[in-house]
């Protein structure tokens, strides 16, 4: 009896901590979203108030949709994020499989080399990257961004996935070899489904910095046709005047696609944990 009460108290305490953390984490998002629905005067008068009938105003959204080609910016962001994510997961998983599965000379060194990128920020190489993109004529293309983000995401992907792939039963892979499956079939059909939770983790960690990045779009692809959402929203931030309605509306809109992607991956993550019944 006392034990039952004790565990209730504990779970209450745990929930209190978690709820507090959630509130703190979601507060800025909440403020951004409520203010995006208010008129300019209401934003400055009382930033924490929820929109009322009086202060409710969609001017921010109207501005965003009227000025600039926001639909195109969204599309660019989505293309860059999804393409980079695809390549990071594909190449990261393949490299991780090779590192964890095959014994070859320099295996350890190769693993360290591939993980090195976690410690060195890719932005240090911005000038060299820009020179390279200019030389290869890739400036102002989405390809440039996809290439850079793939390189940026690979180290962490290789590091996490190779750890997980070491945990996949050797017997299972060997059974596949004896049954005549090719190494590619073993990789795609046996190993990948079993490391799905790790793939989802890597996907989430890779996706968010790419979606939010301002640096590389600004330097490598600032043209109107290749602007991403984060770069597109900058037009509303001026040196002297900032159109806060439009900025907040753009930011609120930018949350949506990445939220959808996150939900997709977190479902995968949960499904991966209940493996065995997975088709």
């Amino acid at each position: 009896m006392s034990q039952a009460r004790h565990s209730t108290a504990r779970s209450l305490a745990a929930h209190a901590v978690l709820i507090l953390y959630t509130v703190i984490a979601l507060f800025p998002v909440f403020v951004v979203v409520i203010n995006s629905f208010k008129n300019r005067r209401a934003i400055f008068a009382d930033p924490l108030a929820v929109p009322t009938a009086e202060s409710f105003d969609l001017v921010g959204y109207r501005t965003v949709l009227a000025q600039g080609d926001f639909l195109l910016y969204f599309q660019n962001s989505l293309v860059v994020t999804v393409a980079s994510l695809f390549f990071v997961l594909l190449f990261g998983a393949m490299a991780a499989f090779a590192l964890s599965e095959y014994r070859f000379r320099g295996n350890m060194l190769m693993g360290l080399y591939l993980a090195l990128g976690i410690m060195i920020p890719i932005r240090l190489g911005t000038v060299a990257i820009l020179q390279m993109m200019v030389a290869s004529g890739l400036v102002n293309t989405l390809t440039a961004l996809v290439l850079v983000y793939t390189a940026q995401g690979l180290p962490l992907a290789v590091f996490i996935l190779s750890e997980f792939m070491r945990g996949v039963s050797d017997d299972l892979k060997n059974a596949g070899r004896i049954d005549g499956l090719s190494e590619y079939t073993i990789f795609f059909r046996l190993v990948l489904p079993l490391v799905r939770p790790a793939m989802a983790t890597v996907a989430v960690f890779t996706m968010i910095p790419i979606w939010n990045d301002l640096w590389f779009p600004l330097i490598l692809a600032p043209s109107e046709a290749t602007k991403t959402v984060t770069l597109g929203s900058q037009v509303f931030i001026g040196q002297f005047v900032t159109n806060w309605n439009a900025v907040l509306a753009a930011l609120s809109l930018a949350i949506l696609p990445v939220l959808v992607l996150y939900l997709v991956f977190s479902r995968q993550l949960i499904r991966g944990i209940t493996a065995g019944a997975v088709k």
Binding site: G180, L190, L194
Partner: protein, 330 residues
């Protein structure tokens, strides 16, 4: 079909040699068991036969054809793993049929082969389930079924019973013996459990440190071991090793099986240190000043008190003589 020959096979990982020149001939239809303590190289040797590990030097031949450089799938072997290694995303039927499907066998033939194997192993009602929905014993039967379906020249078993509980282990052991009789196929079986080795094998290969210590039929190893390692490894409880010098014999050590030590003799004195009653037999542990702890195996229920002083005797022709290096003196 299905004879296996190993000629001076070695395996090195980096600078460590784990298999140090093994010669072995397994005849067609034979049940051969590799047994030894962990780390003796028995699993590595099996994986080399399967083609999952490269052979550093020497030859592996199946039916007289050298297979060193052949991929595992093309060696016409099948393997059953300790962890079952079933494909989690496939049903029992597809698990068993995958190898044939990969080889391009017609669907009807796959159906027939899977059906027959399922019937042999009483799996027919489980064919549509996935591995996650099966118990440990059922999973191991599916793994065995997957091997049977391929009609291989050689069956390889890598400690297949180690993950099962005691009752299931005995049952599956009998099932494997029955399969061997029915299929008449050559089987290579790796285990660290000498009981499995004794009960299943036509031929036992005792390995230690990458070297074959002795090869022979179970009863030959039991009744005629070549050295103290084989004598101690085969038979449970373990053979007693006595200091032969203290008994006035010329050999260095004397090996006597627990069932051949009889109370009441005067050659060895000691005190009972522990008694285990198993119902059908009684194990009496006797601490002797000259020879250390000795095990005596007695038939039926016997009453001994701890600390009781006992004298033990043995028949000289039941004892094995070994020299100082552990080699048998005949």
């Amino acid at each position: 079909m299905g004879a296996l020959t190993l000629t001076q096979v070695t395996k090195s990982f980096g600078t460590t040699q784990v298999i140090k020149g093994v010669d072995l001939a397994v005849e067609d239809g034979e049940f051969c068991v590799f047994v030894g303590p962990s780390g003796c190289g028995k699993s590595t040797l099996l994986r080399m036969i399967a083609g999952l590990e490269d052979v550093t030097s020497g030859d592996v031949a199946i039916d007289g054809a050298r297979v060193n450089d052949l991929a595992p799938a093309r060696r016409e072997i099948a393997m059953v793993f300790q962890s079952y290694a079933l494909y989690p995303h496939l049903t029992v039927r597809d698990n068993m049929g995958l190898a044939l499907k990969q080889a391009g066998t017609p669907r009807a033939q796959i159906e027939a082969a899977t059906g027959k194997a399922a019937e042999m192993l009483a799996l027919a009602h489980l064919l549509e389930r996935r591995p996650a929905e099966l118990s440990g014993g059922q999973r191991q039967r599916v793994a065995i079924g997957r091997a049977i379906v391929r009609r291989p020249k050689l069956f390889l078993f890598d400690e297949p019973l180690s993950n099962l509980d005691a009752a299931l282990r005995v049952q599956t052991r009998i099932e494997i013996a029955r399969l061997h009789r029915e299929l008449g196929a050559t089987m290579i079986y790796v285990t660290h459990d000498q009981v499995e080795a004794m009960t299943l094998a036509d031929k036992i290969v005792v390995l230690r440190g990458g070297v074959v210590e002795q090869v022979g039929r179970p009863m030959d190893l039991y009744n005629d071991p070549d050295n103290t390692f084989v004598a101690g490894f085969i038979g449970s409880p373990q053979m007693n090793f006595l200091d032969a010098g203290k008994l006035g014999l010329r050999s260095a050590r004397l090996g006597i099986r627990p069932e051949h030590l009889v109370p009441g003799g005067g050659q060895i004195g000691g005190r009972v240190s522990h008694v285990e009653k198993l119902g059908g037999e009684t194990l009496v542990y006797v601490a002797s000043e000259d020879h250390g702890l000795l095990t005596v195996r007695l038939f039926g229920e016997q009453d001994y008190a701890v600390d009781e002083v006992v004298g033990l005797g043995f028949e000289p022709n039941r004892a094995f003589h070994f020299d100082a290096e552990g080699r048998r003196l005949r």
